[in-house]
Structures are given as structure tokens and as C-alpha cells.
Symmetry: C2
Subunit: 304 residues, 2 copies
Amino acid sequence: MAPSPRDAAPGLQEQMNEISEAVNKTIMRLLPESDLPEAPLFEAMRYGTLNGGKRLRPFMLMQSAKLFGVDMARARRAAAAVEFVHAYSLVHDDLPAMDNADLRRGKPSTHKAYDEATAILAGDALLTLAFEVLSDVETHEDPRVRVELVNLLAKASGPHGLCGGQMLDLIGEKQEFDLGTISRLQRMKTGKLMAFACEAGAVLGKASEPMRKALCNYAYDLGLAFQVTDDILDVESSPEAMGKDTGKDAQAGKSTFVSTMGKDQARARAQMLVEQSKRHLHIFDNGRADTLKELADYVLQRRA
Amino acid sequence: MAPSPRDAAPGLQEQMNEISEAVNKTIMRLLPESDLPEAPLFEAMRYGTLNGGKRLRPFMLMQSAKLFGVDMARARRAAAAVEFVHAYSLVHDDLPAMDNADLRRGKPSTHKAYDEATAILAGDALLTLAFEVLSDVETHEDPRVRVELVNLLAKASGPHGLCGGQMLDLIGEKQEFDLGTISRLQRMKTGKLMAFACEAGAVLGKASEPMRKALCNYAYDLGLAFQVTDDILDVESSPEAMGKDTGKDAQAGKSTFVSTMGKDQARARAQMLVEQSKRHLHIFDNGRADTLKELADYVLQRRA
């Protein structure tokens, strides 16, 4: 079974489902089925994106936009863009030359369902589409907002973000990393895209600099907590519950938070990071940011 | 030996070398060497970009910008961005799962010099960097110009451009294509990025719509002529002269202009397309576009 948002507080759960559905509709509209000869590319793009998934990043983006009264319809395109980048990174990371993962979200990974060439191209095309969607005049956004979103997303995804993080991850198969390097790796691989999601909501809402910063810091701490719990789940959970192979880090000889500090310390660390992430949100009064705080707790408690 | 601009008229040759050098400097500045643990990613990005190459697309961009009096320093960043996208597409196309090419520009292709995972990531990072470079506030361009360039580049590179073209190309290994489909494939795979290069110069120069259109049409015809001559060179030339394996299309069973219409007809077609491409430039008076016309002739006569 594919993992779906669950184990979340009922109110949070409902909001996550709602936003997930809304963003999926936008994604489907942006990835129409095709009867062109190159249709397999479009199918693989849909397959890599619409196969379940918790839609955490779109949720962060939409909730952060909501803090500033941004119209949800406006935020949905940007939310789809961040999910395209996330999906592209999973499609490429799963390739045989990379993490060689046959399962993703409980189903064959994209290169298994199609073939390697199609998966490489579908990833490339999803990444490109993210920039097209953000920059498009159809968004009716101020060009200043559009170009800032593009630039932030590019910085979060490039050699100093996602790509650099994945490179480090691969190097980690042959080399032992200390805690500092593991943290830097995960900040690049997970934190930066989550920070983009939160910051994008603030950019759409023309938020003040301190509020932007607070949301970024929230995302960085939460991203790290997310990764620490991922490492714990990788040793504790089953492929059935996770929807992907487990125990792969140890198998690949990768240094993780768990291998470096042990399970108990890792759990304490995740707890500490979640508390810290929530504290950044104190800048928002009257419980405005309560949903994002609940999301942080959910990340800690999730079982998949 | 890596192919370099040659067989061009002496004046054109000199200008191509000059622009090639200037753009290479910009590329090197945008891809600094790194002493971070993930340095192999940066090295592979440099390797995939700075390994010779004719720099045709940067040349088109710079020449088109020059038509409208755009400062060359301004145009160089955009020229580097289009070359990043071109380089990324070559790095990914050469992968074993795609065209499985061991040689590129007379040297081992990126996945041979590094490894497959690094090549995939270097391609991803180059594509992302192109969007970062175009959108960056450092360009000092009007946000409207920046976001338009990003959107045009994304459209030229995504599922309806480069990625779609490469998908069609792979499908062509298993399926015979008629001339219409081959032309559409090549328009996507080669024409769109060249059209972006020419149009970007016009966007930087805030050119009139008819002039923009003329430059795009020039690029589409020239791109097709380029591809037809490429197909001819693939059957006529040697790996030594081309700096890459030849005869690969026939080996892969791909339908090409040569396999579909024969060498003589293909040659006549290329000639016709080059004449047609030059005619689009009649809108520019006083010989202003003569260099672009000479470039068209060069494409026809090149031997590598």
C-alpha cells in the first residue's frame, strides 16, 4: 500500500488530504495526457508525480501562503512546481546508477514501470516544467514575484541544493561522514527544498523579511527532523509500511544519523529539532501558525 | 582532436573564436572549482561544458543581441545559460541508457570520465544552473526580461522541446518515422534551443515582434539544416573528424533525413533550408545580419 498522510491529528489529516487533492488536480491539469508519439514521456511524468506521496512540500507552501492571506488558487501552481521538483529528484535518485530502488510509494519506481531512458527524460522534463510553471505569464503574478520564485527554486535544486546533496549522499557510500557532514548533506538534500516551499508562500504574500526568515528556519529544522526520523524508520519499519525498500542505508554502507549517534540519541535529536522548528514560528501570533506546528509534530510521529 | 570552429570564412571564424573565448570565461566564472566534499559534481559540470564545442548557440545569442545594440557583457550570461542547457542535454543523451556514446568532442563522454551517477547529477545541475543564471538579480536585467527568458528557455527545453525531442529520438530506434515526424523531432531537439538563443538576443534588445519572429524562423530553418548535415556527416565522416562516434544512427536503426530521402536529396534539402533561413533575415537592412547569414553558410559547409 502506498503511504498516505496518516497518524496525523484529525484536523491536520483533513487539511493535508484537502490540499493534496487540490494540488493533484493542478498537477493533472499541468500534465495532460497526450496522443503524440512521445506520449510515454508524458505518462512517465504523470506516473512519477501522481503516485501517492504525502505532498508535504505543497502543504508547507500552501500553509505558509495562507499565513499572509494569499489566495489558495494562486498558491496551487507554485505548490505543483515544488512537487514537480521533488518528484524529479525521486525519479532520478531511484535510477540503477544512483540508489537503485525498485520500489517507490509502494509501486515500481519510474524506471521499472517504464525504462531507464524514459525515467531520465521524465525527471529532466519535470524539473524543466517546474520553472516553466513558476515563470509563466498565466500565473498572473507580478514578474518580480515570478522571477524571485524561479531564482529561489533554482538555488534550492542546483549544485548547492538538491543535486549537491544527492552527490554527497553517493559519496557517503564510499566514505564515512561525521555528524556535521551528514547534517550538511541533509540540509542540502531535504532542507533547501522545504525551505523553498515555506519561503515561496512568504514571497507570494510579500511577507516581511523576519517572517520569511522564520519560515525558512522552521523548514530547515523540520527538514532535518524529517531526515532523522527517516533514518530511524529505515532501520525500524518494513517495506510494506514505508512503500519503499528499507534497510538500504546500512546495506549501502551509508553514514546516517542512526549509524552515527544510535537510535535513542537520534530520536532525542529529532524531538529537539521539532521543538526548535516550532519555536521559530512564535513570530506569528494568535495561533496563526498552529497548523505548521502540528505538521512538525506529525513529522516526528509518522510511521511511514 | 575536438572539433573547433573551422571551415568558416576567416572573418566569421575569428568572430566565432572571440565569442567562444568570452563565453568560456563567463562559464568558468559561473562554475568555479570547489574544495567541498561534493567537488566531483562541480568538476563533472565543468567537464561537460568546457570540452571544446563550437558554441553555436552562444554565438547565435550574442549575434542576435548585437543586432539591437545590446551590450555584449549583458548578453554573455544568457549565452552561458543556453550553453549549460546544451551541455546538459549532451551529457544525458550520451548515457548508456540513452544513446550510449563513449566519445564526445574527441574525449570520453562525461559518464566515462566520471561515472553514470555523477553524469546524471551534473546534467541535472547544469540545467538548474541555467535557470538560476537567467533569473539572478546579479544580471541587473529588468525582472520582466529575466522572467521572460526563463519561460522561453523552459519551453524550449521541456517536454515540448529538448526532452520531447530526445524521447522521440529514442522511440525512433524501434519505429520507422516518416519525414514529417523526423522534421518535428529535430525541430524539438535542435530547433527550439537555437530559436531560444536567437530570440533571447531579441528579448534582451527589446526588439519588435516581427524581428523576433524573423530570428526564430531563421533559427528553426538553420537548426533543421544543421541536423540534415549532421545526418550526412554521420554516414560520411570519421570519428576522428567529428570527435564522436559516427554511423551510430544506422546502427541504432534510426530513421534520419539520409535514410529517408537519400544523401543527394538530403544535401539539396539542407541547401534549400539554409537559403530559406537567410531570407528571414531580409528584415534587417544594411547588412546588419550578415554575420548570421554567414553562419548559415558555415553550417552547410562544415565538415565536423
